[in-house]
């Protein structure tokens, strides 16, 4: 287990860091969204960024991927500064943000063709990869439908395909399973597991602990704009029976069990 200062103790055994964050801050007016994060995410792992709603997960991921400018701090992805060397970083990362639109008036296939070509891949290669991704992600039947008519699960899947199209080294997914049906979730999961098995890194955020626990081998716990713990799953979980319990203890919510306040609720006298 790692202390709240965020000292790198339990970083993975693989050595090199996929992401290195130093003193990252972001304020929106009076509200501090991210309050000085130091974090090193090991390469080649399936990494979960967990925390309650409003913990600053999306803000952090946006700053790490170069979509939001931090007030302070540096971010390095695969050893390159996100803000000083965007060309190198953007070519090596894939992103699936939360709460941002896609070009929804394109069909699924057109979206992939568009994005692949913007990334400078040869047209034939883009089309080949798009066909395979659409197949694997179960979108082949809907490839000519406009994305605006897609369901949530289909949107996440086409977003994932768009993020994977240029074979990135590090994949950032913000709430990839939010609102996704079990079948689609299983498909996404299968693709991600295959992807990390080849040595790539996946960083994804979620507030569903069970999901993170079953998918990730490395987690970082966030609350109120700070990293509360990070390291291999087993270390962060520690003695607790589940990540959920460990998380509740970390964020100091364990004392808030539905105690004696509602003792009249339930069976017995009305």
């Amino acid at each position: 287990m790692v202390d709240a200062d965020g000292d790198v103790v339990g970083a993975g055994a693989t050595g090199t860091a996929a992401v290195r964050v130093r003193g990252l801050w972001k304020r929106f007016g009076q509200q501090v969204a991210v309050a000085g994060i130091d974090l090193e995410l090991p390469a080649g792992r399936f990494i979960g960024l967990v925390g309650p709603n409003g913990a600053g997960k999306t803000t952090t991921l946006s700053m790490v991927t170069g979509l939001l400018r931090p007030d302070q701090g540096t971010v390095e992805v695969v050893g390159r500064d996100v803000w000083r060397d965007p060309a190198e970083v953007k070519a090596r990362i894939g992103v699936l943000p939360e709460g941002l639109r896609l070009f929804e008036r394109l069909s699924g296939r057109e979206l992939l063709a568009y994005l692949g070509r913007l990334r400078g891949l040869p047209g034939a290669e883009v089309d080949k990869r798009a066909t395979q991704l659409l197949d694997v992600l179960d979108l082949a039947g809907a490839q000519h439908k406009l994305v605006v008519d897609y369901s949530t699960g289909m949107r996440k899947k086409i977003g994932l395909a768009a993020a994977l199209l240029h074979n990135p080294e590090v994949l950032f997914l913000d709430e990839p399973f939010e609102g996704v049906d079990p079948v689609s979730a299983q498909t996404i999961r299968g693709v991600l597991e295959r992807y990390t098995a080849s040595g790539a890194t996946v960083v994804f955020s979620s507030h569903v602990m069970e999901l993170v626990e079953s998918l990730c081998d490395w987690v970082a716990v966030m609350a109120a704009g700070r990293i509360r713990a990070h390291g291999p799953l087993a270390e962060v979980r520690g003695e607790a029976p589940s990540l959920q319990r460990a998380f509740l203890e970390l964020v100091g919510a364990h004392g808030r069990d539905a105690g004696s306040d509602l003792d009249w609720l339930g069976g017995g006298s009305r």
């Binding site: 979509l67 008036r105 394109l106 070509r117 490839q143």
Partner: protein, 530 residues
Amino acid sequence: MSAPAITPVVVRLKLSLLRNGLRQSGGRRAAYIASAVVALLFAALQLVGLIALRGFDHVESLVVLLVAVLGLGWAVMPLFFPGGDETLDPTRLVMLPLRPRPLVRALLVASLVGIGPLFTLCLLTGSVIAVAHGGAAFAVGVLAVPLALLVCVALARAVAAANVRLLTSRKGRDLAVLSGLVVAVGAQVVNFGAQRLGSSGLEQLDPVADVLRWFPPASAIGAVHSVGEGAYGTAAAQLLLTAAASAGLLALWARALTRLMTAPDGSTLQTGGAAVRDRASTGLARLLPPGRTGTAVERSLRYVWRDPKTKAAWVTSLAIGLIVPVFNAWQGTGSVYFACFAAGMLGIQMYNQFGQDTSAFWMVAMTISSTRDAYVELRARALALLLVTLPYATLVTVLTTAMLGDWPRLPEALGLSFALLGAMLATGAWTSARFPYSIPQEGYKNVAPGQTGLAWISIFGGMVAAAVLCAPVIALAIWLNAGAGGDDLLWLLLPVGTLYGAALTLLGLRLAAPRTARRLPEILTAVSKG
């Protein structure tokens, strides 16, 4: 239930719903009565007016136009007031075992009950009195009035039934965004029409009326007038046309109704997979250059067609860019220089390029990692715009010149248009990078709350800057026109204006590119508020 029994039931249902609605609250009753009184007063005035107009020259043109507008009003009414009349909402009757034919008959009779039909009846009667000459004409009028009324009501019902389904789907919501446009463009047309009518007499309407009196419901009144003129064949044809139109509309309505009551509602229906074909490898795409340029041009052009907000903006620009110069030329008050309107209106589409992407701009931002990328992206968007604007502006200019017969000024007007277009593209690219703002995707608003100032700076500041940038070419035009021997050199304005416009565009893109590349996160934040 037998066929004849259902009609009185539905009519009684309508009357009791109307009565109960009035009983609900005093305010509602007052509002209803007030609107009824105003409508009836208006109808009576119109009736009196039309009767008074009887015998005037060219009155038939005015009357035909009036009835045509009335028909148009009936057609668009259900689009603007979709929930207007719940008694006629067929989806409420879905659970009842009714056959379409008796149901159509019943609903038709029920929809004839109300102020709207009464108003129409007054107007139609007045129209007949105004144009009918001789007993035969009045006899035809007796037939024409109910026929025209039937066309109006059936038109409204058919449009409404077709839309009940449409308005629940994504396509319907897309259309709703576009309907504001109909009003905007319609207002322009009416404005010009009224101006023209005011400046010259009723005979100005003749050419329009000549066409319109073949369109139902105006064709019914046309028939009455034709009989008065002794043109019995024409009258018979016009009357037949009206009857055929009402029969056709009723059939359409019945079909829509049957589909509505037997098929699942549009919101639960999966859209067919074949709705949009893969056009990635067809026609235009093959002609476009590979890489970012071709890809971005293709995406921009697809959005002009597929995205309702972009489409509405484009259609407005295209329409106003055409209407202002051409209508002015038609009225004889125009000048060739008005043709610059087309270039100017379309140039506006270059403004707030990234706002048009909405928050999907992140996808573009993730692929821009150098000033060069940003330059190529902006250039591609300008190119997409030019692909439509250059031919269109040229066409409008040539058309305006042809209408005015002012051919010597064509090169000059074209040169000025292209210079203006270049200036708009340049300032548009720069303000897109400097003052981006969100365009909300729902509703009519084109600016997100809190960004109105930004939008004003962007558009009006940009337009003033564009005008200033054009000043040298305008000055040259004035100088050449004023100079005694300048007329021979006026053609020079075409190459000079074109080159100047192109140079401005390139300069604007060059200046906008580094700013765009530097400010990607800020632009994304600014355009993600909608």
